[in-house]
Symmetry: C2
Subunit: 223 residues, 2 copies
């Protein structure tokens, strides 16, 4: 995968970090290796101390970039949603037929993630796994109300609103475009989780992709 706009940077709400991790070498190493470490040991077991040891840096230095690991997770997920939005716009912008556009959108959200060489310090494949396994934890908190006001979920919300709009463009009479958009997004990540850990609770596997399931679901709904 090759990026078209070489100078593009995923724009993330500045309140999420104390110091922009994209602005320094240490910052980029924090991003790169936090993705590896969270994948390896899970978000609950992940600590800044362990990350510091891993990258040969100091715990206190990491705290200068992020207040805590929750903020780091918000950063990583915002990055992911921003990246996905970029993929989405790139893949669907030229399509004029609303159904084709929506079909492509479902594909973008449900297909297997591939490495994007444009961002060498971000492993999108592992980041996708973090979204599947940890993203819910970033909003299932007592602070969600305030953090939503602070705009920490804006890219995610914008993505769903985009899908919602595309649904309406296919069928303006459909009554639940936002709900269906949310279902597609959360649901497709959940189907991947089930595939790995609870295969009896899904029909998705090598032959039946989540893509096929959601295409069926969405287009029957909009008929």
């Amino acid at each position: 995968m090759e990026r078209l706009l070489k100078t593009m940077k995923i724009g993330i709400n500045e309140k999420i970090y104390l110091k922009d991790p994209e602005s320094s070498d240490l910052g980029k190493r924090i991003l790169e290796h936090s993705i590896n470490l969270i994948n390896e040991i899970g978000f609950e077991n992940f600590t800044f101390r362990k990350l510091g040891t891993l990258i040969g840096s100091n715990e206190s230095s990491i705290y200068r970039y992020f207040e805590n690991k929750h903020k780091l997770l918000l950063y990583l997920s915002s990055w992911y949603w921003g990246w996905l939005e970029y993929q989405l716009v790139l893949a669907t912008n030229a399509i004029t037929n609303p159904s084709e556009k929506l079909k492509k959108t479902i594909e973008i959200f449900t297909k297997k993630t591939e490495i994007d060489s444009s961002f060498p310090h971000i492993n999108e494949v592992l980041l996708n796994r973090i979204i599947i396994n940890e993203y819910s934890k970033s909003y299932l908190t007592k602070e969600v109300e305030q953090e939503n006001k602070d705009g920490y979920f804006e890219i995610y919300k914008r993505l769903i609103e985009r899908i919602s709009q595309m649904i309406t463009n296919v069928n303006a009479d459909y009554k639940y475009p936002a709900s269906l958009a949310s279902t597609i997004l959360e649901g497709s990540f959940h189907q991947y989780f089930l595939q790995e850990h609870f295969p009896s609770l899904t029909n998705c596997d090598e032959n039946n992709t989540p893509s096929a399931y959601f295409n069926d679901l969405v287009f029957k709904s909009l008929k």
Copy 2:
């Protein structure tokens, strides 16, 4: 709401607890007040020490019932799924028409929870909120593989398999009964979460219930 089978007890995998909390007064107080406290401060901030203070008991006494708060969450959710299964069977058993049966099932999963006076130490309304806000955390862990083998999610899985079977009974040719069943279950709880915290990401509100949305979704899919 009145229970028909007075002696019924929700059966929970014995490996989840060290000592059956239903077997003593302290155990029941642990269940009752953990539901209140988790609702109030959230699962992350909840500790056995705080719970002990609240119920005028000792931290170490609570540890004799549950290894840790994760196990307590597994207990509470198993109880909830068992209770829902009971509601489901009761409400649908007599229905012979497969479509009617499935319609009733969707209603059971999406309707607002009401207090069940049969279990005075369990507040089902608050427990429902815990499921909405905390259940994902019980399986989004590094231990999910082992805990699944140990049977900690069996009631949840059985519930989804029941819905899946009902879907197949309506349309035997439908290719994704398990995936759709998972989508109904996770999705309906998620729609309630969105209603409360991200209303722009759902069309469900006082007038448009999640029930209506999922009925539309499911029956169009099965046509």
